[in-house]
C-alpha cells in the first residue's frame, strides 16, 4: 500500500519539477514559435551553478534556497543574453533559431563537463526537510512535499502573472497574435527577451530544487529535454494549464513506468504522446495545431 502511495508522491513531485521546466518551454514556444532546445541545458546549468554555491567552490557557501534563487537568476540572465545576442540576429528564421539552440545546447553540455567533471554530483536535502511527515499511517518525505508545494505556488503565481498583470496581458497578446500586438504598440521583441529569461530562470530553478532528488550528471539535459517536449506535445503549446496537466501526466507515467516496467519506461512515455498526436494534434489544451 505504502509502495503505491510513495510512487504517487514521487510522480506528483516529478510532475511539479516538469511543470517548472516545461511552463517556460511552452511559453517560449507559444510566443516565439520555436522549441528552445537549450531548455534541458538551462535545467542542468541551474543545478550545477547551485551546487557550486553550496559546495564552497567559490570560497563561501549559502543556504540551499538562496543558492537556488541565485542560480535561477544567473540562468535567467544567460537565457536573456542568448536571446538578445544570438536568436535576435535570426529573427523570423525559425529553422535557423532552432538549430542555433541545438548547437548551443551541445556547447553548454561540453562546458559543464569541462567545468564540473563527469562524476555525478549529489546535493543534500536542505536542512529541516530531510524527514518525513506521518499522516494516516503513511510517511511522506518532507522535501518532496515541499517541491510539490513550490510547484503549486509557482503555478498559481504564473497564472496570476499571465492573467492579472499588464505584462501577462502583453505576453498573452503576443502568443495569440504577434503582428497585431506590435500594431497596438507592444514591443514584442522585448517580450521575447523577458519570456526567454523567465523560462530559463524557471528551468534553472527547477534544476536546483530537483538536484536533491535527481542528482546532477552529464546528460541530465538530454534526459529532461524530451520530457519537456512530450509535456508540451501533450498539453499544447503556449498554454499554462496544458503544461500543468501534461507535467502531472508525464510525471505519473514516467514514475509508474520506471517502477513497473523499468526497461520500457522511456517507451511507455511515448504512448500518450502518440494518442494525443493522433486524436488531438493541437494538444489537450492547445489552441493552435502543433
Amino acid at each position: 500500500m505504502s509502495f503505491w502511495l510513495l510512487l504517487t508522491v514521487n510522480s506528483v513531485t516529478f510532475g511539479g519539477l516538469l511543470f517548472l521546466l516545461s511552463a517556460g518551454f511552452s511559453l517560449i514556444f507559444g510566443l516565439m514559435r520555436i522549441p528552445n532546445l537549450m531548455h534541458g541545458s538551462m535545467f542542468m546549468v541551474g543545478a550545477y551553478l547551485g551546487s557550486s554555491l553550496l559546495s564552497n567552490a567559490l570560497g563561501f557557501t549559502v543556504n540551499f534556497w538562496v543558492a537556488a534563487v541565485i542560480a535561477s537568476l544567473e540562468v535567467a540572465v544567460l537565457g536573456a543574453l542568448m536571446e538578445r545576442l544570438l536568436l535576435r540576429r535570426l529573427a523570423g528564421q525559425q529553422l535557423a533559431q532552432v538549430l542555433v539552440t541545438l548547437g548551443v545546447s551541445f556547447m553548454v553540455a561540453d562546458l559543464c563537463l569541462m567545468g564540473w567533471g563527469g562524476d555525478p554530483i549529489s546535493v543534500a536535502t536542505p536542512e529541516g526537510l530531510g524527514g518525513f511527515v506521518r499522516a494516516g499511517g503513511a510517511a511522506f518525505p518532507l522535501y518532496r512535499m515541499a517541491v510539490i508545494g513550490i510547484a503549486v505556488v509557482f503555478a498559481i503565481g504564473l497564472w496570476l502573472m499571465l492573467e492579472r498583470t499588464r505584462l501577462g496581458a502583453m505576453i498573452r497578446a503576443g502568443v495569440d497574435d504577434p503582428q497585431m500586438a506590435r500594431v497596438v504598440g507592444i514591443r514584442v521583441s522585448r517580450l521575447f527577451t523577458i519570456v526567454f529569461g523567465l523560462g530559463a530562470g524557471l528551468a534553472g530553478f527547477a534544476g536546483m530544487i530537483g538536484a536533491p532528488i535527481l542528482s546532477i550528471y552529464p546528460g541530465l539535459d538530454q534526459d529532461m529535454l524530451p520530457l519537456a517536449l512530450v509535456v508540451v506535445i501533450l498539453g499544447g503549446t503556449g498554454s499554462l494549464l496544458g503544461s500543468f496537466v501534461g507535467s502531472i501526466i508525464v510525471g505519473f507515467i514516467y514514475n509508474f513506468g520506471q517502477a513497473l516496467l523499468p526497461e520500457l519506461a522511456y517507451f511507455v512515455l511515448f504512448l500518450p504522446m502518440v494518442l494525443v498526436l493522433v486524436l488531438r494534434p493541437q494538444g489537450l489544451f492547445g489552441g493552435q495545431v502543433l
Partner: protein, 376 residues
C-alpha cells in the same frame, strides 16, 4: 563531342575511378578506414538530405532509424542467424520504424516536425539504453565477424572500403534517379508549394511519406554499414548528437544538392577526427560549427564560403579601384542570401498556411497568417 553530357559522364567516370583506386594510393589502413567512414556517413547524409533538402522536412531523429537497423543486425547475429537474415532483418526493422516515425511526424510540418522527430529519436535512444535484455544497455552489442559476400572476406580495410564504395555509389545513383524522377519533382513541389500541389491533385501526405521511407531505407543501409564497420553499437550511436551530426553534414555541404551531403560528410568526419586527436571536446566543436554555419552561412559551407570569399574579394578590389561603384555593390552577396531567405520564408509561409487549411478552421487561419507575414 563537347556536349555537356559527355563531359559530365567523363567526369563521373574519372571520379569513380579515383574512388576505386583510392585505397591503393593511400595504402595506410588507418586512412582507408577514414575513407570508409566518410562513405558510410555519406549514405546516411544522402538519406537525410532527401527529407531535409528536397522535402523541406528537418528531422532530428534519424540516428534512431540507422541505429535500429544496426541494433537489429547485431541482435540477429547474436541470436545465431546468418548475415543474410541479419541484413534483411536490419533493413526491415529500419523500414518499420521509419513508417512509424513518418506516420506520427508527418501530422505536422516545419518546427513541429522537428520536435516530434526529436522526441521519437530520443525514445529509440531510451529503449537502446534501458531495454538491457535486448540491447545490452550501456555495454551495447558487438558483432564478431563481417560478412563475406561471394566468398570475399571484408576483414581488411581495403576490402571493406570497396564494399562500402559499391553501396555508396548505388545509393548515390538511387538518389540521383529519385531526385530527377517525377516523384522527386513532386516532392520538391510539396516543399515549395504544398497548397498548390494539393490543388493540382497530388497527395501531399503520401509523397512525403514515400520520401520518408526512402530516406529511412538509406539510413538503415548506413546503419548496417555502421555495424559491420565498427562491429559494435551502443546507445550514443542513436543519441541526439548523432542525429545532429548527420544534419550538420547535410546543411554544411548544402541541403537540396546531390553532392552537398557527401562533401558535408567528408568535412564532418575529417574535422571530428582532427579535433578529437588534439582535444576531447568534439561536442563543443560540433555545437560551435553548427551555430557558425547557421548564423554566417545558412546556405551551406561550400556555397557560403564561395559567397564570403567573393564578397571579400570584391571589397578588396573596390578598395584598389577607387570609389567608383556605389556602396550597394558590397551587399550583393548578402542580398543573394537575403533573397534565398525570403524564398525560404515564403515556402515556409505557404507550408504553414497549408497545414492550417488541413487542420483548422478559418478563424484560426486569421490568427496565424500575420505571424508568417512578419517574416518579410
Amino acid at each position: 563531342m563537347n556536349s555537356p553530357v559527355n563531359v559530365r559522364n567523363f567526369v563521373i567516370a574519372a571520379v569513380v575511378l579515383a574512388l576505386v583506386l583510392l585505397p591503393y594510393a593511400i595504402r595506410e589502413p588507418y586512412y582507408v578506414n577514414i575513407a570508409s567512414q566518410i562513405l558510410l556517413y555519406a549514405v546516411f547524409a544522402l538519406g537525410l538530405n532527401i527529407l531535409v533538402g528536397y522535402g523541406g522536412l528537418v528531422s532530428l531523429g534519424h540516428a534512431g532509424l540507422s541505429g535500429v537497423a544496426a541494433y537489429a543486425v547485431a541482435y540477429l547475429l547474436a541470436a545465431g542467424h546468418g548475415h543474410l537474415v541479419a541484413i534483411g532483418g536490419g533493413l526491415l526493422a529500419g523500414l518499420i520504424v521509419s513508417a512509424g516515425f513518418a506516420a506520427l511526424a508527418l501530422r505536422a510540418t516545419g518546427i513541429s516536425f522537428i520536435m516530434i522527430t526529436l522526441a521519437l529519436g530520443e525514445i529509440i535512444w531510451g529503449l537502446a539504453y534501458r531495454w538491457i535484455s535486448i540491447t545490452g544497455g550501456d555495454n551495447g552489442l558487438s558483432v564478431s565477424a563481417r560478412p563475406a559476400p561471394f566468398g570475399l572476406s571484408l576483414d581488411s580495410a581495403g576490402a571493406f572500403y570497396d564494399a562500402t564504395l559499391v553501396v555508396f555509389l548505388l545509393a548515390l545513383a538511387a538518389c540521383a534517379i529519385f531526385v530527377h524522377s517525377p516523384f522527386g519533382a513532386a516532392l520538391a513541389g510539396t516543399r515549395d508549394q504544398p497548397r498548390r500541389m494539393n490543388a493540382l491533385g497530388y497527395h501531399v501526405w503520401m509523397i512525403r511519406f514515400g520520401a520518408f521511407m526512402f530516406s529511412g531505407l538509406l539510413s538503415a543501409i548506413s546503419g548496417i554499414l555502421f555495424i559491420y564497420y565498427y562491429q559494435f553499437v551502443s546507445p550514443p550511436a542513436l543519441a541526439l548528437t548523432s542525429s545532429a551530426e548527420a544534419l550538420l553534414m547535410v546543411i554544411s555541404g548544402g541541403a537540396g544538392t546531390l553532392l552537398g551531403p557527401v562533401i558535408g560528410a567528408a568535412l564532418v568526419v575529417i574535422i571530428k577526427l582532427v579535433v578529437s586527436a588534439y582535444i576531447s571536446r568534439w561536442n563543443f566543436m560540433l555545437g560551435a560549427i553548427f551555430v557558425a554555419i547557421v548564423v554566417f552561412m545558412p546556405e551551406g559551407l561550400v556555397p557560403g564560403s564561395v559567397r564570403l570569399c567573393r564578397a571579400a574579394w570584391r571589397r578588396s578590389n573596390r578598395g584598389r579601384a577607387a570609389p567608383m561603384p556605389p556602396p550597394s555593390g558590397g551587399a550583393g552577396g548578402s542580398a543573394m542570401a537575403k533573397h534565398a531567405e525570403a524564398k525560404h520564408a515564403e515556402a515556409k509561409h505557404a507550408e504553414a498556411k497549408h497545414a492550417e487549411a488541413k487542420h483548422v478552421e478559418a478563424k484560426h487561419a486569421e490568427a496565424m497568417t500575420p505571424v508568417a507575414g512578419q517574416k518579410r
